[in-house]
């Protein structure tokens, strides 16, 4: 039991890490990036390619991947999202949906159907574990992922609350027109926010490839987990995302304990329960927006 909880918390760290970029994008730009999972897998292939062909460690590869994804994020906002946002709030979501299909199929065309993993390039770490008291073993990759999630989410939270750029991003998210009147370049602030959101996906890509295998179409499932963790955590709160990831993993573990095939169902049930609870009982802007989309509020 204790072991299962410990493993669930470690897995929750992974969910929080992959949800980080999605949550950041949702909280500060009000965009649900449906290409999130595809970008995650794209990053995984990038690291795999460097390891396979040039024997570059994924940790070193991150030094190239994070700036590259940040650049993609910047371009995504500047050339796709900013334009599609003029067509209403649903259009950016559809745009990222289209982008994910394009990315998935380009990756499939390029890399085929073989599953890949980054485990071969990180040596012992792939299977090594730490021993906790009470004879519980937790994988090194899992612990590192959890730590990475805490550092990344905490770092982003500090960035948003303490730095001038972070404040400019928050102001732009709240009211872009007024931000301009106060002297903030709203276009630049949004592009920086998007660069950070997508750049942070790189770290999750490394975690994805190190803990398991992936193929060109693995993005969908990752997007779903990331989305569930984001929503359970309160849609827009970065620390909430960490809690959301852990709650999701605990629910999946509980599901698996009840029935061998209950792992995914447990997670989905937790997600739906939280969503409905928020939808009907809790006030809040996100809930309000959901209600509006569903036609229940003006």
């Amino acid at each position: 039991m204790l072991n299962q909880i410990a493993q669930a918390i470690v897995l929750g760290g992974y969910y929080a890490l992959i949800a980080c970029g999605l949550s950041f994008m949702l909280s500060v730009m009000r965009v649900i990036n449906l290409a999130h999972g595809s970008l995650l897998v794209l990053g995984g292939y990038f690291l795999w390619y460097l390891g396979e062909n040039y024997e570059v460690s994924p940790f070193v590869g991150l030094l190239a991947l994070v700036p590259l994804l940040a650049l993609i994020g910047w371009a995504l906002q500047r050339f796709l999202l900013a334009r599609s946002a003029r067509g209403g709030e649903l259009l950016p979501i559809l745009t990222t949906f289209g982008l994910s299909i394009v990315l998935d199929n380009l990756l499939f065309e390029q890399f085929g159907a073989d599953t890949r993993s980054l485990a071969p390039y990180i040596g012992d770490m792939a299977w090594d574990s730490y021993e906790l008291p009470a004879g519980i073993f937790v994988g090194k990759v899992g612990v590192l992922t959890l730590v990475a999630a805490i550092v990344l989410l905490g770092g982003l939270q500090l960035f948003l609350s303490r730095t001038g750029t972070g404040k400019a991003i928050r102001a732009t998210a709240e009211d872009a027109d007024t931000a301009g009147i106060v002297g903030i370049d709203a276009r630049k602030a949004s592009a920086i926010a998007s660069a950070i959101a997508v750049g942070s996906i790189g770290i999750a890509s490394a975690a994805l490839g190190m803990r398991a295998t992936f193929d060109a179409y693995a993005g969908g499932a990752q997007l779903l987990f990331a989305f569930e963790a984001t929503i359970i955590g309160g849609a827009g709160s970065l620390w909430g995302t960490l809690i959301g990831g852990i709650v999701l993993a605990l629910a999946q573990t509980a599901g698996a304990a009840i029935h061998p095939q209950g792992f995914l169902i447990g997670g989905h049930l937790a997600f739906i329960l939280v969503l409905f609870a928020r939808f009907f009982f809790l006030p809040g802007e996100f809930t309000y927006r959901l209600r509006r989309i569903a036609g229940l509020a003006k």
Binding site: A171, T178, G180, G183
Partner: protein
């Protein structure tokens, strides 16, 4: 010295011509009151000056440079700032953060968060409160402070007494008097004629998108402004349009 110069400015909302070939000049250090009924085009004119609305035609010159094509944030950088109607604060951010946002343009100058708190002492205890929870007067003070933090050369106040109780309006105007001593150029839109006449050195009356009166306060009267306000003497030139 002319600081701001507007030449034949036209602003349209679709078919509706909200501002019709307005030309005027504002000198450095002047305090100008813009007076007019609802829908006369005052707010539209100020928002156009701040870069929030694009004019259909005409030019805006600031310190001799054409700023008509600049976006809102670039105009703040060049030294123009608007205190918008309805305050438009960032409700999810604290008073201090709202003030700091104004400082992000880094124009350099005397204004700091502490100095804002010294002219609006009622804000000190609300420093870390979200602006959504403030009273109307505190919100207005924060909005003015946020604009001052950009260290502007000219500041546009749009209906600063709107929605405030008379007592709070007195407080806001008392702080404003302090501010005017610092020599900043001010254009303010005000419905309350008495207050406008007390604080400003010049009156500009707008009616249906046009300037119908433009006189130093000393050379005009309450009656003359009232006539211009209601358009009682149409067709008569009261000194509008330079």
């Amino acid at each position: 010295m002319t600081l701001l110069s507007i030449e034949n400015l036209d602003v349209r909302y679709g078919q509706f011509n909200a501002v019709r070939s307005v030309s005027l000049k504002v000198g450095a250090g002047e305090v100008v009151a813009m007076i007019g009924a609802n829908g006369a085009g005052k707010t539209t004119l100020l928002r156009t000056l701040a870069g929030a609305i694009r004019p259909a035609s005409g030019r805006i010159l600031f310190k001799g440079k054409d700023v008509t094509g600049l976006s809102a944030h670039q105009r703040v950088k060049s030294g123009m700032v608007l205190v918008p109607e309805g305050r438009r604060l960032f409700a999810r951010m604290t008073v201090e953060e709202n003030l700091q946002l104004g400082g992000l343009v880094k124009r350099g100058g005397d204004w700091s968060v502490d100095r804002i708190f010294s002219i609006f002492p009622n804000l000190v205890k609300r420093r870390h409160a979200k602006t959504g929870t403030l009273s109307g007067g505190e919100q207005q003070a924060t909005a003015i402070g946020r604009a001052l933090m950009t260290n502007p050369d000219i500041i546009f106040f749009d209906e600063i007494s709107l929605g405030l109780s008379p007592l709070v309006i007195d407080q806001v105007y008392a702080s404003l008097a302090e501010l005017l001593k610092s020599g900043v150029t001010v254009v303010l839109v005000e419905q309350d004629l008495k207050r406008a006449m007390a604080v400003a050195g010049r009156a500009i009356c707008m009616l249906e998108g046009q300037v119908v009166l433009d006189r130093p306060m000393a050379h005009t009267s309450r009656d003359e402004i009232t006539e211009a306000y209601f358009g009682l003497k149409r067709g008569q030139n009261l000194g509008g349009a330079h």
